[in-house]
Symmetry: C2
Amino acid sequence: MKQIENLLGFRESIKVVDATLRDGGLVNDFFFEDDFVNELYKANVRAGIDYMEFGYRASKKVFDESKFGKWKFSSDEHIRQIVGENNSDLKLAIMADIGRHDKDDFDQKVNSPVDLVRVAAYIQQMPEAIDMVEDAAKKGYETSCNIMAISHANDNEIKVALDMLGKSPVDVIYIVDSFGSIYPEQMTRIADMYLEFAAKYGKKVGVHAHNNQQLAFANTIEACGDGVDWLDATYLSMGRGAGNCAMELLIGFLKNPKYNVYPIFRFIEEHMIELRKKGVVWGYDLQYLMTGLLNQHPRSAIQFTKEKRTDYSEFYKDLLI
Amino acid sequence: MKQIENLLGFRESIKVVDATLRDGGLVNDFFFEDDFVNELYKANVRAGIDYMEFGYRASKKVFDESKFGKWKFSSDEHIRQIVGENNSDLKLAIMADIGRHDKDDFDQKVNSPVDLVRVAAYIQQMPEAIDMVEDAAKKGYETSCNIMAISHANDNEIKVALDMLGKSPVDVIYIVDSFGSIYPEQMTRIADMYLEFAAKYGKKVGVHAHNNQQLAFANTIEACGDGVDWLDATYLSMGRGAGNCAMELLIGFLKNPKYNVYPIFRFIEEHMIELRKKGVVWGYDLQYLMTGLLNQHPRSAIQFTKEKRTDYSEFYKDLLI
């Protein structure tokens, strides 16, 4: 059993990653105003957040630049316009989505404000993911790898992927509950499996949860209690579909005095309530509970949301087919 | 560690209690329309719910009848108008709130449609609570007792209360997270303490959670995994402040084939979305997270909500004084 002391103590090794722009960008096609990004950066610095993920660095050969906001591509120039020389303790991250990235878009670390390259891949894309990890590590970046959709993979497949990643230069291996289908007691078991490989190869483990069943925060602190050190969260849970672990919940829970929840509340009040009023929609709702419960990709629930449907029971019946 | 088999298996001893009218009534002063209550009753029967709590049986000597809907008082007559002879497997409950009840309002069980009398009391009211439990048990009712606000009590006080209840005729002793301040790893420890006394005296243990930190469902299934059998939930989390464990999440999680989540989705779609549109407000929001985080009574957050304030960071600063 985890010890009660852990609730008032803290581990120096914990790193909190703000994924608001990246996962949140999935609900507004990355059209964040510069003021929003500027203030989010400042809030993260004030709140003592460890890493801020700016967005994807998607390939312009794959995506039409005119159809997305700049944080779909998160160039070094765009980031510098926000952070300047980033004279802060906040480290900066971007995500490479395997199959939709281009290694050539990643300069040498010495020329870039980015500290961490986060690689996201489905389990069958692991060789390509590791190729990307190796390239980024060679260029001087810290690296992490998200194995996505593990609730659709079996333990043997996952162990093969963990072994491959263990042998790679990756620094952090992420548990990702892509469909928000994982319960805390499953999270414990998954964390144990990841931590075993991590210990063998000297890696860190992270967790990225989704809130389909209102378990994103619970799963994150469950994993944290098990020894997972890298914790993803987003302000006001902003993220695809049901959203993520709420930053305000996570920072409220973590007791390291370097963290401060007040700037988070302030940013939400001044910048995110407005976003909602403008019609940007995300967060827990019945359609996301349903896809989570049934361990399905949320795309049908996202469509249901876009169409402003409220015939939940019909939607549920369709999911069961 | 809890076993993975538990996630697909089920315990016959689990009882699900729908507290929508009672805890939900706290947000609309119990002004539910008869059609709503009728359909909720039918939905509970179809969903295989074990108990339906109709409301408080508050004393009319304490509360002005003209200022509340009928489910503040939940007379046997009102209940019969909904359930007739209740020819179903669904058992019926009402709540007696210690200090605001009157024993004389409770007829002999043989004359009443009510099966279970739920007694709610603060820990310092335990003698009066036990007096009520004894009276109800003598009249032929099943009884349960909620010890409220335990996050403001210490373990020694709670143990004294558990011992008193153990020696009483009460059937079920409830863990109540009144302020939504308890984390799952605390819930495990609390459940162990309650279960130890329950085993000694041959009682059952229940859990009633609040969603201030989006942990009502997580804490409920945590307690369930620890051996707590009686699980409170409300449709769409309807309840005071941040609301409760959502019935749709709980029934989605429980695997006993007697439960059926579809009628729950259907009821929410047809009757509760409307309620929200009419301006009835409940559920997770930053002000409730704040009082939960700080282990405070939600009354200031409820007031903040009523005043439609959005200056969250000011509110937070006031709570810290």
